[in-house]
Amino acid sequence: MAKQLFSHTRMSRPQYILRGVVLAIGALAFLFPFYYMVIGSLQTKPDPSVVGAFPNIANITGENYVQINERINLFQGLLNSGIFTGGVLIGTMVFGLLAGYALAVLQWRGRGVTFALALLVQVIPFQLLMIPLYVLIARDYGLADNYLGMILPFFINSTAVVIFRQYFLQLPKELFEAARIDGASELRLLWGIAIPLVRPALITVVLLTFIGPWNEFLWPFLVTKQSALQPLAVSLANYISTVAASASNPFGATLAGAVVLAAPVVVLFIVFQRYFVSTNIGSGVKG
């Protein structure tokens, strides 16, 4: 595909070079802050000069990780982020898949409305719901400082529902009809036929669903006051806004926390990036 495109578009040598330069500047602008994050997290003393951007063996230390771990319990934070994210993943992979299958394969009254809702929900700004959700979940249902309260607003990812529907639509109808004639139940069809066929594509959805709660700050910040229950994003943010001033190397410690928060997502993405296909996501947002 890419080769074809290239041969069709006549690109002169300067244009070819220009494109390379644009891409290189882009990559540098996107990656440099991450490189700087890692370097900064390993420095004994913060060195903001240009020379400081290059690793100096004499200045390298793991001390910042120890220091941030003393202030915010990194393991507890990662565990809380994991529980929050895991809850959302379970909700999305169970109920989202069921809804996606029903929207794509089954004929039932209300299907069109449900699909329209799944699209509409994605453009409703969460922040408009912030006040009523806080009143309902934290006050009325008493779910403040509770994993359930954290998970509930994100429980089923609507983008995932739309992407699931898209995958199942691409499967041939005859497959399902043949199995139905053989007397297979719909759950059996979903589990035994539909899911195995879309399995590689499910990785995109898992990745996309994962980053939502893992990176979410506002909602868990609102509903968790106990530090023992806060996801890492919240405890690190609290550290940045309050405690950082009193640490001996605040930037080093903050950056160490940032590395711990960013690493799981970045590693997951690098491992699975070949499954992360643009068309899948485009269809999820656009329908």
Binding site: R10, P33, F95, Y101, V123, N215, A233, S278, V285, K286
Partner: protein, 313 residues
């Protein structure tokens, strides 16, 4: 977008009219409703009901009461709206988000289309480029805010490189630069997602158009403007919409990057004010009013964008 086309099997019309009466009320596969029921309950519980409740709160005298206590919450008409918008800080936060959108939205559209079309034709280093372009989008704001604080700090590396050109006071504590810095940060942070949307749209631009443009003697630049730009217009409308909605919901960045909307409220966003006023100071009713107005403004902007950028499609 090829993948959004519905396969013909699905758009098959329902079976002949005479069999219609035999179809049960819930359709051919009522099981579909059962399968979707958890999702529908979720949408009602987390989106539909709170949405209505939000509007209701904004028209009533609402305050936090002890759980279980029966309290009177009288209807107060537009009082919450008047209270909210006679506060200059609220007005200013709307102005701030306006500045944010003016910088962020055009920059996002131009840069993401430029990078997506450059990336689209690449054969070498594709995986590396994809990873590097998407990584900021995938990473938590909180994590990257930490490194930006370090980069743009008074004697941070950005100012060291700029030397005498560095603004004083530094970026994030400078009244004039705080909001543009946040806009730049968010553009950088979210760009990967929009590149992804444009990459998907670029697959759908018919190859023949490029061929005939090139037969007509159009160079790469010319065919970019006369084939690519019109070809991805639906995606552009989407990018405008999503970046506007995202921008209007700005919270984490002014909360952390500029220490709660500083200096002197120069970077406060409406959502930050909603948090401070509604939840910290216990006025959920005026905060809900700000939220309702914010959404109406965003809907208005989205409508205008669709009207002027959407063309006929």
């Amino acid at each position: 977008m090829t993948s959004t086309l519905t396969p013909p099997a699905v758009s098959r019309p329902p079976e002949g009219g005479k069999r219609k009466r035999r179809r049960p009320f819930f359709g051919k596969n009522p099981l579909g409703l059962l399968f979707s029921a958890p999702y529908l309950v979720f949408v009602i519980l987390v989106f539909a009901y709170p949405l209505v409740y939000s509007v209701w709160i904004s028209f009533h005298d609402f305050f936090f009461a002890a759980p279980g206590a029966q309290v009177d919450r009288p209807f107060v008409g537009l009082e919450n709206y008047i209270t909210a918008f006679s506060d200059p800080a609220v007005i200013r936060s709307f102005g701030n988000v306006g500045i944010f959108l003016l910088i962020n939205v055009p920059l996002t559209v131009v840069l993401s289309l430029l990078l997506a079309s450059a990336l689209n034709k690449v054969t070498h280093f594709r995986a590396f480029l994809r990873v590097s372009f998407y990584v900021p989008y995938l990473t938590a704001s909180v994590a990257v805010v930490a490194v930006w604080l370090f980069l743009f700090n008074g004697n941070g590396i950005v100012n060291q490189v700029l030397g005498p050109l560095a603004p004083s006071p530094s970026w994030l504590v400078n009244e004039h630069w705080a909001m543009p810095s946040i806009a730049l940060f968010v553009t950088w942070k979210q760009l990967g997602f929009y590149i992804l949307l444009y990459l998907a749209a670029l697959q759908a631009v018919p190859q023949e158009l490029y061929e005939s443009a090139s037969t007509d003697g159009a160079g790469a630049v010319r065919s970019f403007f006369s084939v690519t730009v019109p070809g991805v217009r639906p995606a552009t409308v989407l990018v405008l919409l999503v970046s506007t909605v995202t921008g209007a919901n700005l919270f984490t960045e002014p909360y952390l990057l500029t220490g709660g909307g500083g200096p002197n409220g120069a970077s406060a966003s409406p959502v930050l004010i909603m948090y401070q006023d509604g939840l910290q100071q216990g006025h959920p009713d005026t905060a809900a009013a700000i939220g309702v107005v914010l959404v109406i403004v965003v809907l208005g902007i989205a409508w205008l964008q669709n009207r002027f950028a959407g063309g006929n499609d």
